[in-house]
Amino acid sequence: MKRLLHALDPRNATQAWLALLVITVATAGIAVAERGVLPWVGWIIAALVWWKAWLVADHYLEVADAAPVFRRIVVAFISLAPVLLVVTAWMESR
Protein backbone atom coordinates (compact mmCIF):
# COMPACT_ATOMS: atom_id res chain seq x y z
CA MET A 1 0.00 0.00 0.00
CA LYS A 2 2.80 2.35 0.98
CA ARG A 3 4.64 1.52 -2.26
CA LEU A 4 1.47 2.15 -4.28
CA LEU A 5 0.95 5.53 -2.62
CA HIS A 6 4.59 6.42 -3.26
CA ALA A 7 4.24 5.44 -6.93
CA LEU A 8 1.09 7.57 -7.25
CA ASP A 9 2.72 10.62 -5.68
CA PRO A 10 3.70 13.15 -8.39
CA ARG A 11 7.40 14.06 -8.48
CA ASN A 12 6.97 17.74 -9.37
CA ALA A 13 4.39 20.49 -9.82
CA THR A 14 3.79 19.67 -13.50
CA GLN A 15 2.92 16.05 -12.73
CA ALA A 16 0.76 17.23 -9.82
CA TRP A 17 -1.12 19.61 -12.13
CA LEU A 18 -1.74 16.84 -14.70
CA ALA A 19 -2.85 14.46 -11.94
CA LEU A 20 -5.23 17.10 -10.57
CA LEU A 21 -6.85 17.60 -13.98
CA VAL A 22 -7.28 13.83 -14.48
CA ILE A 23 -8.74 13.31 -10.98
CA THR A 24 -11.12 16.25 -11.48
CA VAL A 25 -12.51 14.83 -14.73
CA ALA A 26 -12.74 11.36 -13.11
CA THR A 27 -14.60 12.81 -10.10
CA ALA A 28 -17.14 14.59 -12.29
CA GLY A 29 -17.56 11.48 -14.49
CA ILE A 30 -18.15 9.18 -11.52
CA ALA A 31 -20.54 11.64 -9.88
CA VAL A 32 -22.68 12.17 -12.98
CA ALA A 33 -22.75 8.48 -13.96
CA GLU A 34 -23.36 7.05 -10.50
CA ARG A 35 -25.40 9.84 -8.90
CA GLY A 36 -27.92 8.21 -6.55
CA VAL A 37 -27.11 4.69 -7.80
CA LEU A 38 -24.66 3.34 -5.22
CA PRO A 39 -24.41 4.83 -1.72
CA TRP A 40 -20.70 4.08 -1.29
CA VAL A 41 -19.78 6.20 -4.34
CA GLY A 42 -19.86 9.08 -1.86
CA TRP A 43 -16.84 7.52 -0.15
CA ILE A 44 -14.93 7.45 -3.45
CA ILE A 45 -15.76 11.11 -4.13
CA ALA A 46 -14.66 12.00 -0.58
CA ALA A 47 -11.34 10.16 -1.06
CA LEU A 48 -10.73 11.80 -4.45
CA VAL A 49 -11.46 15.32 -3.19
CA TRP A 50 -9.14 14.79 -0.20
CA TRP A 51 -6.41 13.52 -2.53
CA LYS A 52 -6.80 16.55 -4.83
CA ALA A 53 -6.68 18.98 -1.91
CA TRP A 54 -3.61 17.21 -0.53
CA LEU A 55 -1.84 17.47 -3.91
CA VAL A 56 -2.51 21.24 -3.95
CA ALA A 57 -1.35 21.57 -0.33
CA ASP A 58 1.80 19.53 -0.91
CA HIS A 59 2.93 20.60 -4.39
CA TYR A 60 1.42 24.09 -4.77
CA LEU A 61 1.12 25.48 -1.24
CA GLU A 62 4.42 23.89 -0.06
CA VAL A 63 2.72 23.14 3.24
CA ALA A 64 5.67 20.96 4.33
CA ASP A 65 7.77 24.13 4.61
CA ALA A 66 5.09 26.11 6.50
CA ALA A 67 5.04 26.61 10.27
CA PRO A 68 3.70 23.46 12.02
CA VAL A 69 0.55 25.22 13.25
CA PHE A 70 -0.45 26.24 9.71
CA ARG A 71 0.38 22.73 8.45
CA ARG A 72 -2.11 21.29 10.97
CA ILE A 73 -4.75 23.87 10.06
CA VAL A 74 -4.47 23.03 6.35
CA VAL A 75 -4.75 19.28 7.02
CA ALA A 76 -7.77 19.85 9.30
CA PHE A 77 -9.48 22.03 6.69
CA ILE A 78 -8.98 19.67 3.75
CA SER A 79 -10.25 16.76 5.90
CA LEU A 80 -13.46 18.43 7.14
CA ALA A 81 -15.66 18.23 4.03
CA PRO A 82 -14.45 14.73 2.98
CA VAL A 83 -15.13 13.37 6.49
CA LEU A 84 -18.62 14.90 6.46
CA LEU A 85 -19.19 13.44 2.96
CA VAL A 86 -18.28 9.98 4.29
CA VAL A 87 -20.67 10.46 7.25
CA THR A 88 -23.41 11.58 4.83
CA ALA A 89 -22.87 8.56 2.55
CA TRP A 90 -22.98 6.26 5.59
CA MET A 91 -26.19 7.90 6.88
CA GLU A 92 -27.86 7.71 3.46
CA SER A 93 -26.88 4.05 2.98
CA ARG A 94 -28.63 2.95 6.20
Binding site: A13, T14, A16, W17, L20, L21, T24, V25, T27, A28, I30, A31, V32, E34, R35, G36, V41, G42, I45, A46, L48, V49, K52, A53, V56, A57, H59, Y60, L61, E62, D65, A66, A67, F70, I73, V74, F77, I78, L80, A81, P82, L84, L85, V87, T88, A89, M91, E92
Partner: protein, 216 residues
Amino acid sequence: MTSIKSTVSVAETTSPLALGDLPAAAAPAEKAESKRPGYTGMWVGITCEFVEFAVFFVVYFIARWSYPDVFRAGAPRLWTLGGLLITMVMLTSGYALVRTVLAVRRDDQRGARLWMTSAFVVALGYPLVKWLEIQHNLAAGVVAGNNAFFTVYYYLTINHFMHSAWGILGMLWVLVRVWQGAYRPGNPKGVESMAIYWHATDMVWLMLFSLFYAFV
Protein backbone atom coordinates in the same frame (compact mmCIF):
# COMPACT_ATOMS: atom_id res chain seq x y z
CA MET B 1 25.52 59.99 31.57
CA THR B 2 27.25 57.19 29.78
CA SER B 3 25.68 54.64 32.12
CA ILE B 4 22.17 56.01 31.46
CA LYS B 5 22.68 55.75 27.69
CA SER B 6 23.87 52.19 28.10
CA THR B 7 20.79 51.27 30.20
CA VAL B 8 18.40 52.78 27.62
CA SER B 9 20.09 50.86 24.83
CA VAL B 10 19.73 47.51 26.66
CA ALA B 11 16.09 48.29 27.48
CA GLU B 12 15.32 48.97 23.80
CA THR B 13 16.89 45.82 22.47
CA THR B 14 15.37 43.47 25.07
CA SER B 15 11.85 44.95 25.02
CA PRO B 16 9.22 42.58 23.59
CA LEU B 17 8.07 45.40 21.31
CA ALA B 18 11.55 46.41 20.14
CA LEU B 19 11.84 46.77 16.38
CA GLY B 20 15.60 47.12 16.34
CA ASP B 21 18.21 44.47 17.13
CA LEU B 22 16.70 41.16 18.20
CA PRO B 23 17.88 39.32 21.32
CA ALA B 24 20.36 36.57 20.44
CA ALA B 25 17.91 33.82 21.48
CA ALA B 26 15.32 34.93 18.87
CA ALA B 27 17.73 34.86 15.95
CA PRO B 28 17.34 31.15 14.96
CA ALA B 29 13.52 31.44 14.95
CA GLU B 30 13.77 34.55 12.78
CA LYS B 31 16.09 32.70 10.41
CA ALA B 32 13.68 29.73 10.15
CA GLU B 33 10.80 32.14 9.51
CA SER B 34 12.62 33.75 6.59
CA LYS B 35 12.98 30.34 4.91
CA ARG B 36 9.25 29.62 5.08
CA PRO B 37 7.16 30.45 1.98
CA GLY B 38 5.23 33.75 2.08
CA TYR B 39 4.50 36.19 4.87
CA THR B 40 3.13 34.87 8.18
CA GLY B 41 0.31 37.41 7.81
CA MET B 42 -0.86 35.65 4.65
CA TRP B 43 -0.91 32.27 6.45
CA VAL B 44 -3.03 33.89 9.17
CA GLY B 45 -5.26 35.34 6.43
CA ILE B 46 -5.88 31.97 4.77
CA THR B 47 -6.55 30.47 8.21
CA CYS B 48 -9.38 33.01 8.58
CA GLU B 49 -10.62 32.01 5.12
CA PHE B 50 -10.56 28.33 6.13
CA VAL B 51 -12.49 29.04 9.34
CA GLU B 52 -15.10 31.02 7.37
CA PHE B 53 -15.64 28.24 4.84
CA ALA B 54 -15.51 25.52 7.54
CA VAL B 55 -18.55 27.21 9.10
CA PHE B 56 -20.23 27.32 5.67
CA PHE B 57 -19.53 23.59 5.18
CA VAL B 58 -21.18 22.80 8.52
CA VAL B 59 -24.20 24.87 7.43
CA TYR B 60 -24.25 22.96 4.11
CA PHE B 61 -24.27 19.55 5.80
CA ILE B 62 -26.91 20.54 8.36
CA ALA B 63 -29.12 21.73 5.46
CA ARG B 64 -28.34 18.57 3.47
CA TRP B 65 -29.17 16.28 6.39
CA SER B 66 -32.37 18.26 7.04
CA TYR B 67 -33.57 18.29 3.40
CA PRO B 68 -31.97 15.26 1.67
CA ASP B 69 -34.60 15.06 -1.07
CA VAL B 70 -34.28 18.75 -1.93
CA PHE B 71 -30.49 18.39 -2.28
CA ARG B 72 -30.79 15.20 -4.34
CA ALA B 73 -33.24 16.85 -6.73
CA GLY B 74 -31.32 20.14 -6.93
CA ALA B 75 -27.79 18.95 -7.77
CA PRO B 76 -28.55 17.53 -11.26
CA ARG B 77 -29.94 20.93 -12.29
CA LEU B 78 -26.52 22.60 -11.89
CA TRP B 79 -24.19 23.13 -14.84
CA THR B 80 -21.57 20.42 -14.16
CA LEU B 81 -19.42 21.50 -17.12
CA GLY B 82 -19.27 25.02 -15.66
CA GLY B 83 -18.04 23.65 -12.33
CA LEU B 84 -15.51 21.51 -14.16
CA LEU B 85 -14.23 24.49 -16.18
CA ILE B 86 -13.84 26.66 -13.06
CA THR B 87 -11.86 23.84 -11.42
CA MET B 88 -9.57 23.65 -14.49
CA VAL B 89 -9.09 27.43 -14.42
CA MET B 90 -8.25 27.48 -10.70
CA LEU B 91 -5.82 24.55 -10.94
CA THR B 92 -4.10 25.82 -14.10
CA SER B 93 -3.65 29.40 -12.89
CA GLY B 94 -2.39 27.97 -9.58
CA TYR B 95 0.14 25.87 -11.50
CA ALA B 96 1.32 28.97 -13.39
CA LEU B 97 1.77 30.74 -10.03
CA VAL B 98 3.91 27.82 -8.79
CA ARG B 99 6.10 28.23 -11.88
CA THR B 100 6.27 31.99 -11.28
CA VAL B 101 7.53 31.44 -7.73
CA LEU B 102 10.11 28.89 -8.95
CA ALA B 103 11.28 31.33 -11.66
CA VAL B 104 11.65 34.19 -9.14
CA ARG B 105 13.64 31.94 -6.76
CA ARG B 106 16.19 31.17 -9.49
CA ASP B 107 16.14 34.81 -10.72
CA ASP B 108 14.66 33.87 -14.10
CA GLN B 109 12.92 37.21 -14.68
CA ARG B 110 11.76 36.38 -18.20
CA GLY B 111 10.22 33.10 -17.01
CA ALA B 112 8.58 34.89 -14.07
CA ARG B 113 6.99 37.45 -16.40
CA LEU B 114 5.74 34.72 -18.75
CA TRP B 115 4.26 32.50 -16.02
CA MET B 116 2.76 35.37 -14.04
CA THR B 117 1.06 36.74 -17.16
CA SER B 118 -0.26 33.22 -17.89
CA ALA B 119 -1.58 32.87 -14.33
CA PHE B 120 -3.44 36.17 -14.59
CA VAL B 121 -4.91 35.54 -18.05
CA VAL B 122 -6.08 32.02 -17.13
CA ALA B 123 -7.56 33.29 -13.83
CA LEU B 124 -9.71 35.73 -15.83
CA GLY B 125 -11.50 32.66 -17.13
CA TYR B 126 -13.20 32.31 -13.74
CA PRO B 127 -15.41 35.45 -14.00
CA LEU B 128 -16.16 34.52 -17.61
CA VAL B 129 -17.31 30.97 -16.77
CA LYS B 130 -19.18 32.26 -13.71
CA TRP B 131 -21.09 34.70 -15.92
CA LEU B 132 -21.95 31.87 -18.35
CA GLU B 133 -23.03 29.71 -15.41
CA ILE B 134 -25.39 32.39 -14.10
CA GLN B 135 -26.89 32.78 -17.59
CA HIS B 136 -27.35 29.00 -17.71
CA ASN B 137 -28.96 29.00 -14.25
CA LEU B 138 -31.34 31.84 -15.06
CA ALA B 139 -32.43 30.09 -18.26
CA ALA B 140 -33.06 26.90 -16.27
CA GLY B 141 -34.93 28.72 -13.50
CA VAL B 142 -32.21 28.03 -10.93
CA VAL B 143 -32.48 30.95 -8.49
CA ALA B 144 -31.46 31.33 -4.83
CA GLY B 145 -35.02 31.50 -3.52
CA ASN B 146 -36.06 28.12 -4.95
CA ASN B 147 -35.16 26.00 -1.94
CA ALA B 148 -32.46 25.28 0.70
CA PHE B 149 -30.12 23.63 -1.82
CA PHE B 150 -30.02 26.59 -4.20
CA THR B 151 -29.78 29.11 -1.35
CA VAL B 152 -26.69 27.32 0.04
CA TYR B 153 -25.30 26.83 -3.48
CA TYR B 154 -25.52 30.54 -4.34
CA TYR B 155 -24.28 31.70 -0.94
CA LEU B 156 -21.18 29.51 -0.99
CA THR B 157 -20.25 29.84 -4.67
CA ILE B 158 -20.79 33.62 -4.83
CA ASN B 159 -18.77 33.97 -1.63
CA HIS B 160 -15.98 31.94 -3.20
CA PHE B 161 -16.18 34.07 -6.33
CA MET B 162 -15.68 37.20 -4.20
CA HIS B 163 -12.57 35.68 -2.62
CA SER B 164 -11.28 34.79 -6.08
CA ALA B 165 -12.01 38.31 -7.36
CA TRP B 166 -9.78 39.69 -4.58
CA GLY B 167 -7.18 37.13 -5.65
CA ILE B 168 -7.37 38.27 -9.28
CA LEU B 169 -6.92 41.92 -8.18
CA GLY B 170 -3.92 40.81 -6.08
CA MET B 171 -2.56 38.98 -9.12
CA LEU B 172 -2.83 42.18 -11.17
CA TRP B 173 -0.69 44.00 -8.60
CA VAL B 174 1.88 41.17 -8.46
CA LEU B 175 1.89 41.05 -12.29
CA VAL B 176 2.84 44.73 -12.44
CA ARG B 177 5.56 44.19 -9.82
CA VAL B 178 6.91 41.13 -11.67
CA TRP B 179 7.16 43.17 -14.90
CA GLN B 180 9.02 45.82 -12.86
CA GLY B 181 11.47 43.13 -11.70
CA ALA B 182 10.59 43.75 -8.04
CA TYR B 183 10.92 40.12 -6.93
CA ARG B 184 14.36 38.55 -6.62
CA PRO B 185 15.73 35.37 -5.01
CA GLY B 186 16.37 37.35 -1.81
CA ASN B 187 12.92 38.94 -1.93
CA PRO B 188 10.31 36.41 -3.11
CA LYS B 189 7.81 36.80 -0.23
CA GLY B 190 5.35 39.03 -2.09
CA VAL B 191 4.84 36.65 -5.00
CA GLU B 192 4.88 33.62 -2.65
CA SER B 193 2.12 35.21 -0.54
CA MET B 194 0.00 35.84 -3.63
CA ALA B 195 0.42 32.19 -4.62
CA ILE B 196 -0.48 31.01 -1.09
CA TYR B 197 -3.73 32.99 -1.19
CA TRP B 198 -4.68 31.61 -4.60
CA HIS B 199 -3.87 28.00 -3.66
CA ALA B 200 -5.96 28.30 -0.48
CA THR B 201 -8.87 29.66 -2.54
CA ASP B 202 -8.29 26.79 -4.96
CA MET B 203 -8.56 24.24 -2.10
CA VAL B 204 -11.85 25.81 -0.99
CA TRP B 205 -13.14 25.46 -4.56
CA LEU B 206 -12.17 21.77 -4.72
CA MET B 207 -14.41 21.21 -1.70
CA LEU B 208 -17.29 23.20 -3.23
CA PHE B 209 -16.94 21.21 -6.45
CA SER B 210 -17.50 17.95 -4.55
CA LEU B 211 -20.43 19.38 -2.56
CA PHE B 212 -22.40 20.74 -5.53
CA TYR B 213 -21.22 19.72 -9.01
CA ALA B 214 -19.91 16.23 -8.12
CA PHE B 215 -22.84 15.59 -5.79
CA VAL B 216 -23.65 11.88 -5.36
